[in-house]
Amino acid sequence: MAEYEIVCGLEVHTELSTKTKIFCSCTTEFGGEPNTHVCEICSGMPGTLPVVNEKVVEYAVRTGLSTNCTITQNNKFDRKNYFYPDLPKAYQVSQLYLPICQNGYVEIHSSKGGMKKVRIKEIHMEEDAGKLIHDAYSDCTLVDYNRCGVPLLEIVSEPDISSADEAVEYVEKLRDILRFAGVSDCKMQEGSLRADVNVSVMPVGSKEYGTRTEMKNINSFKAIHHAIESESARQIDLIEDGKEVKQETRRWDDTKGYSYAMRSKEDAQDYKYFPEPDLPPLSLSDEYIESIRKNLPELPEAKKARYMNDFGLSEYDTGLICASIPLVNLFEKTVEITNNPKDSANWILGEVSKMLNDTQTQPENMTFRADSLGEIINLLNGGKISRDSAKKVFKAVFEEDVNPAEYVEKNNMGMMNDTSAIKSAVEEVLKANEKAVNEYKSGKEASFNYLIGQSMRALRGKAPASEVTKILKELLS
């Protein structure tokens, strides 16, 4: 059998996290009773007109700049025409001729070793469609327009991907970029990130691509990996059997683990694209693009490098924190307050993760004030509370969003900072333990630890151990 290589390109669709839809002011919030997040515009009533949400344009530019794209300063919308009940206007407003971003790239690890660039052909803005729901009870199909008009970006790569691993890394990189750029929360389970996968195979070293097939709407990393492996194997089998790969659209069934043909190239729909006359072309000035570039949030690569180089975090810890934007935000706030990246990281990967685990909470759903964690670390490091108390305070913060300082005060968890009070307590302990004092003075070191223990007990653990040790040493010398 000849050696084959995979040629794969991806079209990644991502929902933007703007508050309102692309052409009207309806909410983009996920869920909701059917047809409650709709108005006359997104439901395509006659006579209504779209007006572009400027946030969508800004997010698209941000995404383009974050993926090394050129921004198309004069870009425009086109109509893609087809009939389907989830598309109330019977056309989708998209960008075919002049997409907003072009010619970018994302760097990934090559399966052959080293880094490689996956080129991005274009990124365009478009509107999402609604959802059909088959109602088995009444045996009819119902349509929910809540998703109609939710803004999407379609990120189209060149066929630069040569393995399932590379494809997954490319999508992971894209997801990180989109989240760090603050344009999408990329919740795959809500369909806010999904990919169309184009696959072909060719003998290794060939200059000519094989015939490709497309699998649409794959929405998990695992499924992307599986689909590419399975589809490339199917194509190789066909070629080895002397059969032909047909250019077609296939549906990937992830539960069954195989794809089946949906429609061939001959049946491909003619979408009759033409410029959307209801929207004037978008003209983006240099100043506008530069202002977005200047305010671009720190992207994943840069952020990770900074955590490792400047903060001295391990690659592993960096990866854990950067896996979640809420954790990144909490970490950065905590560092800002404590000026102590190591302790901040340890707390987040320790107590915070533990609480998230114990309570089965997603980081997005943490409700406490972000400053609280830093405040607790400062109380601990400043000797104001003990480590045990710090953990208790954090639990209360996590569960009830209490104010750490107030909580410590109220629950009498504060450390004694009054040296004279500590001194008198230690003096009492020395009086009551003459035997141990004498043993220590005759050279038995272990008795010193015993005396510390007794003193701490007398102080009910509320004095800093360092202070107690210091006073004890003074009194015994």
């Binding site: 007109l49 009940p85 019977a90 009759k272 033409f274």
Partner: protein, 489 residues
């Protein structure tokens, strides 16, 4: 009461303001006129008397408490049936929207209310504004008040005929390729097709989005200017709308001279196919403009011959997409004979749309199909650019242009539909203006030997309606064609 229908809108508004006539009386006068005449002319598709009376009462209260109610308070105005009126039938004269009541008002309707006008009655049109005769309406054809055996023109035939027949005081129409101007010409009334973008299209059920404009139809230029000043302006709901050059209505009304104005006449507007009586009347009008002080000269505009194919390609392409939403699923007509989804689409659309609409949908789909897109649609866009350029070159020399609206006067009923090519060619002088997005005022300038009105158009620079409205008023202050009315009315 019949006096009220003979008044101009500004005149009626003055009498209402002076409390000589009440706003409710004005509405009732229109209702009475409709009752008396509409069986004969068939101008209206629906008539919302109750809500209009309520609105008139509200306006009257404001007048009675001496509020500042504006120039046209209390004036009833008829609305073309493709402009959305909240909670009231808006059908585009099509079976496919036979029961459609939009839950929103078009921006122009909101503006009419805000300025205390009273929308009253929806007026007939060619189905989805596709046609030049008002014969393709699902409600039956409207008759020309000057001769009921003739068409009123179209597609805003109901609007123009209602003004001519004294069934309405004024009306709003829409113009995609001449749909305001040509019926004005055929019915002897005055109408403005504003600059593309000068009036919000929000709530106008689209025929061809890049060409459609809403505009006023009335008895004279002053009324048209007053109504236009109420409905124009940038609308945040329409991304293609813009503010136009503002003007004071008194500037228009006091305009009696054209001294210092340079007027161009495109000689190619007088080529093959133009009726001699029409050509003569327009040339006579040119003399009047000269007498008013204007310098008038002819110039060549050879690109005229490409106007018709360019228009039909662009308009039909946009139309086939715009009309795809009428699919029998969400609102309007849904075929009772359909079971599966494909059937719902095919049968609802086949049974719901009329012939002319189907023809244009098919033409539009053809020019947009892959393989033909470049040969037709893309080429049409290029010619569109050339046509705009030809006009901007002309406007380097001239303040405005003068030409006929249509090559003929009103056709006999049935004549146009039986010879569609001839009917399409009848749009030759009007479609150019939509392609270039320019404002154009149509006004009467004579009568043919069978006493049918002849119209001319004054074509202006983009967003400069003021100049052509001033010229129109000057012309009408020197002539009385616009004062004539059909004898039988």
């Amino acid at each position: 009461m019949s006096d009220i229908l003979n008044m101009k809108a500004l005149e009626l508004a003055q009498k209402i303001k002076a409390k000589e006539i009440s706003a409710v009386e004005a509405v009732e006068a229109v209702a009475a006129a409709k009752e008396a005449k509409d069986l004969k002319y068939n101008c209206y598709t629906s008539f919302n008397l109750e809500s209009a009376v309520e609105n008139a009462k509200t306006v009257q209260k404001k007048i009675d408490s001496n509020e500042d109610v504006g120039l046209l308070a209390g004036v009833p105005i008829a609305i073309k049936d493709n402009i959305c009126t909240k909670g009231e039938l808006t059908t585009c004269a099509s079976k496919i929207l036979y029961n459609f009541k939009p839950p929103y008002n078009a921006t122009v309707i909101e503006k009419l209310h805000k300025n205390n006008l009273v929308p009253l009655g929806k007026v007939n049109m060619d189905e989805f504004a596709m046609g030049s005769t008002t014969e393709t309406s699902a409600y039956g054809e409207t008759k020309n008040p000057w001769d009921v055996t003739k068409v009123p023109g179209g597609s805003s035939g109901g609007a123009a005929a209602s003004v001519a027949a004294r069934e309405s005081v004024a009306a709003l129409g829409s113009d995609t390729g001449g749909s305001i101007r040509q019926p004005c010409s055929f019915c002897g009334v005055t109408g403005l097709k504003p600059t593309y973008g000068a009036v919000s299209r929000y709530g106008l059920i689209a025929y061809a989005s890049s060409l459609d404009q809403i505009g006023p139809i009335a008895k004279d230029t002053a009324d048209v200017a007053a109504i236009f000043s109420v409905i124009c302006g940038k609308d945040e709901k329409d991304g293609t709308s813009m503010d136009t050059t503002p003007f004071d209505i008194s500037d228009i009304i006091s305009s009696k001279s054209l001294k210092g104005k340079k007027v161009g006449i495109p000689s190619d507007y007088f080529g093959e196919g133009i009726n001699e009586e029409v050509a003569k009347s327009v040339m006579n009008a040119a003399k009047v403009l000269k007498e008013l002080g204007a310098e008038v000269e002819e110039f060549a505009m050879p690109i005229v011959k490409y106007a018709i194919p360019t228009y039909y390609i662009i308009a039909c392409a946009e139309a086939c997409s715009n009309l795809s939403r009428f699919d029998g699923i969400k609102y309007g007509y849904s075929s009772p004979n359909a079971e599966m989804l494909r059937d719902v689409y095919i049968k609802s659309r086949s049974e719901g749309f009329g012939m002319e609409v189907k023809k244009r949908i098919m033409l539009g789909n053809f020019v947009l199909s892959s393989g033909y897109y470049d040969a037709y649609y893309n080429k049409a866009l290029k010619v569109k650019g050339l046509i705009s350029k030809a006009f901007s070159e002309a406007f380097e020399k001239y303040d405005f242009l003068l030409g006929p609206v249509a090559p003929t006067t009103a056709l006999k009923m049935g004549e146009g539909l039986s010879d569609p090519l001839q009917m399409y060619l009848g749009d030759i002088y009007t479609v150019m203006i939509n392609i270039a997005g320019l404002p154009s005022l149509a006004l009467p300038c004579g009568f043919d030997s069978s006493n049918m009105p002849i119209g001319m158009q004054l074509i202006g620079k983009p967003f400069n309606e003021k100049t052509i409205l001033e010229a129109g008023n000057a012309f009408q202050s020197a002539t009385d064609y616009h004062e004539k009315m059909p004898e039988t009315v």
